[in-house]
């Protein structure tokens, strides 16, 4: 069967399975995820990856581990990812509080627009830009991921695959966080934790004879502990050090005056398209994330607006609708493209991708990596069908987002009024419940809290947490690939330098460290 048949089967797959109220479960889950994501994004202090992390163990305990669970689980997570970026704009525009970190730039123009009574126009522009950026990014994903995967499969052997993972980890260490050395420390720590209790030998590695860690730490406890519990503890510490919450959120009346006409929409495309391009490129590179995309999209839009601004139009920072559109298109365009390295290489590029990859690895049916898009000479590659099923769900989510996302977004404005002192303990409780639902052991909860303290420590010492988690996820894959590369080259200790491609990849890793160190030193 060729790729076209796989695409058709993928589309059919989303309609398969049970239906609720006549709507196929897979579709219902992605729509549910989308609305839940908007709700999360609209709540300051919560973020998409946080919701994905908490939802994953609960979804697994509901749907199980079998292949039939993949589309509903990953569909829901994709929905959250898409919805949260959109929802983040709501409090940014209405209350000058970014719902998610990447919506900071949205406050620069969104809030002044609200003050001028154009809140509705700003929200509509944010919705239009966000969904456009997301759709463009998804199209690039669908067109690129299969070809990149086929290329990797055809040209990269085991030594090159090992070198590619090393290069990705180095890149992540270099671009995330305040310093490269701290990034590398985080990567080292992630690999260290991944190597505890794992390995090929029968004897449990690095367990110090402690039976409890002989099988390694529960994955959910490590990831949710360091990412979510650490964040909650940090937020609690911060809240303690601050005096009362600054000023109560004012009542906002959305004035009907703020309308976004078709002409406005067309003129915004000149800002949305370049921002979507920036977001897509950044999303495809591991480790950079949507905050930088938003910053670059905003600065690019600002330059353009400065040159073309008409008399009487507000400048960027003073309530320009183009500012909102430039930011939202860029940060939303990251979400589709960040699946390119996930699906074609099995490498997560940001926090959202971590949970997608965890879901795919835990549930049967799709092992992210180059083999996903292999076209068999006969029969079906069920992984490719699943991948196209996910693409179909993403397109469907975009359609729903186009149709009703704007309305849902406005409804969620109420969430910005939830005080942090209620929100954080709730997140803590839900996270603990969620991990227990998957692991059903007290030991997992102890690990969760332990890694929560570890996450807090990392935040207090400014060691970036994401490189730690990504290295933890990739640690065993790196070890396995490297071991296999070592064996397949007849136990050649220099297997990482056994071909021109792997030499090039390793040299790039060293160069990245040198270039980024030099750049930061210069600054």
């Amino acid at each position: 069967m060729g790729m076209a048949e796989h695409i058709l089967l993928g589309i059919q797959a989303i309609f398969a399975g049970p239906a609720v109220l006549g709507i196929p479960l897979n579709i219902l889950m992605v729509i549910g995820g989308l609305f839940f994501g908007i709700f999360i994004g609209a709540t300051p202090g919560l973020a998409g990856p946080m919701a994905m992390a908490i939802a994953l163990p609960i979804l697994i305990s509901i749907f199980g581990y079998e292949a039939s669970a993949l589309l509903p689980i990953v569909g829901f997570l994709l929905g959250i990812m898409k919805g949260a970026t959109l929802g983040g704009a709501v409090p940014a525009i209405l209350f000058n509080t970014p719902g998610t970190p990447d919506a900071l730039m949205t406050t620069y123009d969104g809030y002044p627009m609200t003050q001028k009574g154009e809140a509705r126009k700003a929200l509509k522009a944010a919705h239009f830009a966000s969904v456009s950026g997301d759709t463009i990014s998804d199209i690039v994903l669908i067109l690129c991921a299969p070809f990149l995967a086929v290329f990797v499969e055809a040209y990269l052997d085991l030594p090159e695959k090992s070198a590619l993972i090393i290069l990705s980890l180095t890149f992540i260490a270099a671009v995330m966080g305040t310093s490269i050395s701290k990034g590398l420390v985080a990567i080292g720590l992630g690999l260290f934790v991944a190597f505890i209790g794992s390995g090929e030998d029968f004897y449990p590695r690095l367990s110090l004879g402690v039976d409890a860690i002989a099988g390694g730490f529960p994955i959910a406890a490590v990831v949710l502990g360091s990412l979510i519990i650490g964040e909650v503890l940090f937020a609690m510490l911060e809240a303690r050090s601050q005096t009362q919450q600054q000023g109560k959120i004012k009542q906002i009346v959305l004035k009907v005056a703020g309308k976004l006409t078709l002409k406005d929409r067309l003129s915004l495309l000149a800002y949305i398209l370049p921002s979507a391009f920036i977001g897509t490129v950044i999303g495809a590179l591991p480790g950079i994330g949507s905050t930088l995309a938003a910053t670059l999209g905003y600065s690019n839009g600002k330059r353009r607006h400065h040159l073309r601004r008409k008399e009487g139009e507000p400048a960027f920072g003073q309530g320009a609708v183009q500012g909102v559109a430039s930011t939202e298109a860029a940060n939303s365009a990251v979400s589709g493209a960040n699946l390119i390295p996930v699906l074609s290489l099995g490498i997560p590029g940001n926090a959202a991708a971590i949970f997608l990859i965890l879901a795919m690895e835990t549930v049967d049916g799709l092992n992210p990596g180059p083999s996903v898009f292999r076209v068999p000479s006969e029969g079906i590659n069920s992984e490719m069908v699943m991948a196209f099923g996910l693409f179909s769900l993403m397109i469907l989510a975009n359609l729903v987002n186009w149709l009703v996302g704007g309305q849902v977004m406005q409804l969620m404005s109420i969430m910005a009024r939830v005080p942090r002192q209620i929100l954080m303990p709730t997140v803590l409780l839900v996270t603990i419940t969620s991990v227990y639902a998957q692991e059903t052991s007290l030991y997992a909860l102890i690990c969760l809290l332990g890694f929560g303290l570890f996450g807090l420590f990392m935040r207090l010492t400014s060691i970036p947490i994401l490189p730690f988690v990504i290295a933890y996820i990739l640690g065993n894959i790196l070890e396995r690939t490297a071991r296999q590369a070592f064996s397949s080259t007849g136990a050649d200790p220099y297997f990482l330098f056994s071909s021109p491609t792997s030499i090039l990849l390793m040299l790039s890793a060293v160069l990245i460290i040198c270039i980024f160190t030099w750049k930061r030193h210069k600054k």
Binding site: Y65, G197, F202, G215, E378, G379, Q484, S487, A491
Partner: protein, 316 residues
């Protein structure tokens, strides 16, 4: 007449009571922990969980599946040995866990005294497999290619299989690069992707062989493969050991005999019924069940231990 009817009714009720009493003789005194030695979501995990679901459905026992992976099943063996022996803990591993893996790792402190084997459910269809596009028909073509100087990468998924691949290489004066990967699916992916030239597959190859994408070059068992009986035995190419193995349900040592019988019978009943999910998967992937229970499965494990000691010695 009246008294006759009454006595007959009483007799019937008593007989019925006795019969159901015999059937429902044993009941667990709490939920049953089902330890699974395989990664969540894989084929073997699916079988274990499907058996658990069906046991719960048929007998009302509350089954709580939990993953205890790693160490080739030895982590499960270690965890299970200290569990209560009243039938509230069972586990699914492979016979190799209590054979080669146990012998190769004396430090784990596991012996056959630490387990009550219940029953095997399916046997491996272990073949040496390559892509058809390689042009090889049997293992002899591989031996010829390797002798002609081609560097070949041979995928395995357990240390025992790595030893067997080494013995094949050694007996035929070859220089095979043996690559141990994680699970049969990884071997298949490696072979398909061209990262490996050939490898052991325990049943997962059936679909690919049927479609003509893959070829069974040899049977690694002591008997021919069910799907391609014409493929030569690896034993006939200088490897005096077979890769025969089974999926095994087991319980902690000293299991109460009533519990052992009830659990064994219940598991066999589920896997032997092809209309159940577990039975269906076993039929599709392994051609049907392979049931060895009671004293026979104990003898099987003892024989495996003996063979493992000889294999380890031969591969040194």
């Amino acid at each position: 007449m009246k008294s006759f009817v009454l006595s007959a009714a009483i007799a019937a009720v008593t007989m019925l009571g006795t019969a159901t009493g015999a059937l429902a003789e044993w009941k667990p005194n709490g939920p049953i922990k089902l330890m699974i030695a395989f990664a969540a979501g894989g084929g073997a995990d699916t079988i274990a969980r499907a058996v658990g679901d069906e046991l719960q459905k048929r007998h009302g026992w509350e089954i709580q599946p939990q993953q205890v992976t790693g160490g080739g099943g030895l982590k499960l063996a270690a965890a299970m040995k200290s569990e209560p022996s009243d039938g509230t803990t069972i586990g699914m591993a492979i016979t190799e866990s209590y054979g080669y893996n146990m012998v190769a790792n004396p430090g784990a402190g596991i012996t056959l005294a630490d387990v009550t084997p219940l029953t095997t459910v399916a046997g491996f269809q272990m073949g040496v497999v390559a892509k058809t596009s390689k042009g090889w028909k049997t293992i002899d073509d591989v031996i010829a290619a390797a002798k002609a100087g081609e560097t070949l990468r041979f995928g395995t998924m357990t240390p025992k299989l790595s030893d067997l691949a080494f013995l094949l290489s050694d007996a035929n004066n070859l220089n095979l690069n043996i690559v141990e990967v994680k699970g049969g699916k990884a071997v298949m992916n490696g072979v398909n992707a061209g990262d490996l030239d050939l490898g052991f597959m325990a049943g997962i190859q059936a679909k690919g062989v049927a479609s003509g994408d893959l070829v069974n070059l040899a049977s690694a068992l002591t008997v021919p493969l069910a799907q391609t009986p014409e493929a030569p035995l690896m034993m006939d190419r200088g490897v005096p050991f077979g890769a025969d193995g089974y999926f095994l349900f087991a319980a902690p040592p000293g299991l109460d005999p009533a519990a052992r019988k009830a659990l064994t019978d219940a598991i066999i009943e589920v896997v032997s019924d092809p209309s159940t999910k577990a039975g269906g998967i076993i039929k599709k992937a392994f051609g049907g069940t392979s049931i060895i229970k009671g004293s026979d499965v104990e003898a099987l494990l003892e024989a495996d231990v003996k063979a493992a000691k000889e294999l380890i010695k031969a591969a040194q």
